[in-house]
Amino acid sequence: MRTLQTWIAQLRGFFRKAQMDRELDEELASHLEMHIADNVRSGMTPEQARRDALIKLGGVEQTKEDYRDTRGIGWLENILHDSRFGLRMLRKSPGFTVVAVLTLALGIGANTAIFSVVNSVLIRSLPFPHASELIDISARSASFDMPSLGFSVPDVADIRADSSSFTGIATYRDAPRELSGVGKPERITGTEVSEDFFPLLGIHPAYGRTFTQSDMQPGTHVAVLSHALGQERFGSDPSAIGKTITLDAQPHTIIGVMPAQRPLGFATDSQVWTAFIPTDEERTAREGSTCWAIARLKPGVTLAQAQSELDTISARLASAYPEAHKGWSIYASSLKHYLFGDANTPLTILFCAVGFVLLIACANVSNLFLSRGWARRREFAIRSAVGATRGALLRQLAVECVLVALAGGVCAFFIATWTLGGLRSILPPEIPRTQDIRIDSGVAWFTLAASLFAALLSGLAPALLSTRQNLSVAIKESIGAPGSNGSNGGHNVLRQLLVIGEVALAAILLIGATLAMRSFDRLLKQNLGFQPNHVVTLQIEFPKFRFANEQQAIAFVQQVLAGTRGVAGVASASAGLVFPMSDEIAETTFETEATATDANLGEQPALGNRVAPDFFRSMGIPLLAGRDFTDADAKGNSPVFIVNEALARKYFGSLDIIGKRFSTRRESGHPAWGEIVGVAGNVREATPHAEPKPQIYAPFYQTRIATGVYLIVRTKSDPLTIVPALQDCIWSVDKNQPIIAIKTVNAQIEEVNATSGAQSILLGIFGGLGFVLALVGVYGVMSYLVSLQKREIGIRMALGADRDQVLRSVITHGLKLTLSGVMIGVISGLALTRFMSSILFGISATDPLTFAGVATVLTIIALAACYVPARRATRVDPMIALRYE
């Protein structure tokens, strides 16, 4: 309590200095007068009385000083005093201040910008109450090369019944809808959700309600609208509740409107939600991936405990349903990790890169502080001589460092704010919530912390060195006595270590950036197995309300293709469930006569596709043997297949397989045999990285399920110029048929490669920034060393050194520092770049050419940076040695 009172008194004293000084003066004057009066009364002369009174008081000024020491907050006053002096010193050296502040601003700014992304994507929690309890539950299967699979309805029912770790499990599935009623039918995003979906997430409607058990009955048509759709269709009017909207030609009653949600790349982003009502078949079928599941952990239950329980359940289901669940397992992960986990690696790499940039910037500023400390050694010596402790000197330097770093931090904050838009546009597309990236208080605190860290990093060692000196030598030296033999050896060693460090960091950055850029280059040059130029795709879907069965869809496609082939400028046209690099893949299983008779093999996994005639010509995929599909390969005729070269070689050992028996489905427990009619070339189906896998093409006209296709049109010139004619072809068959997306294959490939492109651009930017800062550092240090060595160079020249020898000596010195840094950078790079392996394509993380190339280029350019100071050294006037006399 007493401490608190003292503090309050000190704080009051700090802010009322002038008034308290006045009061003190008056009080002391009154005491003095009283003492004098007493002394005069006791018989002293006025002079004696005054002298005696002053002695009794112990000296007026000393008394004032003692009082002032206890009155205020000494350390705060000292810091304020140091800050004022520091600001004056920084104003006095505007060159130093601007360079140091800008250098730190670049380093901190890069970190702030990337932190704003990390903060939005990885750190900020999901916008749901107790979001850490939310988990995703997915399946995985050895038969399918997918990171996660959904569940069948009975599987979810079993997991619900057998688990005790969750307060609830909700299901959902994509259900895009056709919204009609006003103007042309519009395709909107939609999700079917179970009744507990919104309660489990903990989000409540802005108006109305969400789903209940009674909405989950077949024949019930209710919908919940997103905030945006509600506003677009009904304004912000709660009276929307109870009105109807037409989805897939079916009127739905609006039961709720959700509040605005930040986009997450999740089911909560949909424009409309409808009830998840499984069909009778879905209620019993164990095969297939009908829905996705999320759950909320019970309080106190960990993810590991939940996973352990799910392991038991998956083992039981796998043994109970071996046909459907062969090699099957259930995985739980936090919902946040499920949604944003993919962003971890690229963001970690980017954060490391900007961290290196900050370290390089700190090394540069540290060098500046070193030089400044050396230049101010006389000031420190004089301060020490008049009573400053080393602590006081350190405090003064620390305050200056913090002022510079804070100024850098403020500039960095603005740099990050201004560059945020640009950063958003070049961030890898796999990074979610990019529109959510903003500069908020978290980012501001980070910037402050980064600034203080930068101040500590760049200022500590120079401050310690600058305040560790021999007083008399320092004063003598700085006065200008040249033969005094003082040495700034400690400064120079640190300065050179800093250069080595920053060259090493720049080498690591450049190696990383070069690997990313070369990887991207290889990606662009990768032979994808097809000809993407002059091909445009139009995505159309076959919703049940419009296409009652697959025959209607097939007929629609046939009519559209017939029209399309007649459009001027069309070279060929076809359709496929997917197309190479379409961001979607279809998987299937197959049997050959050999695998069907081998109990150990059975059904084998492969990529699949159903395509119309002319697909291979339209995509530019070579047919290596046999024939293409024809219109005759239709329903009712025997199944036919075209397989790719990888499948032919792996399972048949040759391409000579036309006429071989082949099956992709079973009937009554036996393969439904068809015939291979062709062998196509391998294509990169999903990404340019992945090696071609066995793939099966079946005729679209023999399909049993048709939910949508891509029309694939090869044109003779720019494909986008005939898109209107292609749209007319579709609408001439059905004027209400929505076209989901129109895109050239080249544009699609660009999107697929965008992540690598963005990574290489960002790493290139940060690598370049680090490189430039490191070169500035090398140049600065070499220049400073030359300026310090002027006297020595003068002596050497007076003793016979010629200019070439001086040039060589300076460059050799720079070369030694650079090579040491490059060597450390290369060795560290070998250890660090392996973390980049997952984002590299076609190039090893330890690619010798990249390492050697970066080392060489860095060395050559660093030498060029040394050349300017070296040339300056050769212009040192040898008379300088005499002039010191």
Binding site: G483, S487, A798, G800, D802, Q805, D877, A881, Y884, E885
Partner: protein, 234 residues
């Protein structure tokens, strides 16, 4: 006899705005091999400038300068440097030893700028250490030596390459009298052994070690007198 140094109408000036300031005016001198010349004069008289011109450290002057009969005024920088490197040794008032090098390494500096093999360099340095009685100090750094010891190393460094000419600028200026005498005795011995010495000094006493005194004032040669202290080598 062919003079070692011959200066004809050497002048040095610098421009300050519209005005031209002369540091040296019409200096004409002959210095014979084996002479011990003292240049004296008040501060600003041009003594050190004259020394640096003779030492070929300064090339911005006019007039004619012959060194060993070679026209220095017509030589390229490289040629001057060669001439200087092989014939001239410097001794400075502030010793100008390099702080971060040991005594041994300081002595090695002038040799390192000539094509002398390392072994031979080592032998020359050891000879010098022995000759100047500083073997025990060879691994010390300049800041571990007294002023006199540092100047001893400075002189040793100047003579290690066996120059024809030693230029000494106030060689005892930073030393106390006993140390100063030691150094001057050393110069005297070197001169007696045939080395030409030109010293700049304010000290009348030091001037007595030489055989000729050149008095400078405002850049002009004010007077010249020969003393009997030493005779030029024949």
């Amino acid at each position: 006899m062919q003079p070692l140094i011959q200066l004809k109408n050497v002048e040095k000036s610098f421009q300050a705005g519209a005005q031209k300031f002369f540091v040296l005016r019409r200096i004409s001198l002959d210095i014979q091999p084996g002479e011990f010349v003292t240049i004296m004069g008040p501060s600003g008289a041009g003594k050190s400038t004259l020394l640096s011109i003779i030492g070929m450290l300064d090339s911005a002057w006019s007039g004619e300068y012959f060194f060993l009969d070679q026209p220095v005024h017509k030589l390229s920088t490289k040629q001057r440097n060669e001439l200087h490197k092989y014939n001239i040794g410097f001794v400075f008032q502030s010793y100008h030893l390099i702080d971060d090098l040991t005594v041994y390494e300081n002595l090695e500096i002038p040799l390192s700028y000539k094509n002398i093999p390392k072994k031979e360099r080592a032998s020359l340095v050891c000879d010098a250490l022995d000759r100047f009685n500083i073997v025990g100090k060879k691994d010390l750094f300049p800041n571990q030596l007294s002023g006199g010891q540092q100047q001893l190393v400075g002189v040793a460094r100047a003579v290690i390459q066996n120059p024809k000419l030693i230029l000494a600028d106030e060689p005892t200026g930073n030393l106390h009298s006993a140390q100063g005498e030691e150094i001057m005795d050393l110069f005297k011995k070197l001169n007696e052994a045939g080395t030409t010495i030109i010293q700049v000094t304010h000290s009348e006493k030091n001037a007595t070690y030489g055989n000729r005194i050149i008095q400078l004032g405002d850049g002009w040669v004010v007077s010249e007198k020969t003393t009997a202290a030493a005779e030029p080598a024949g």
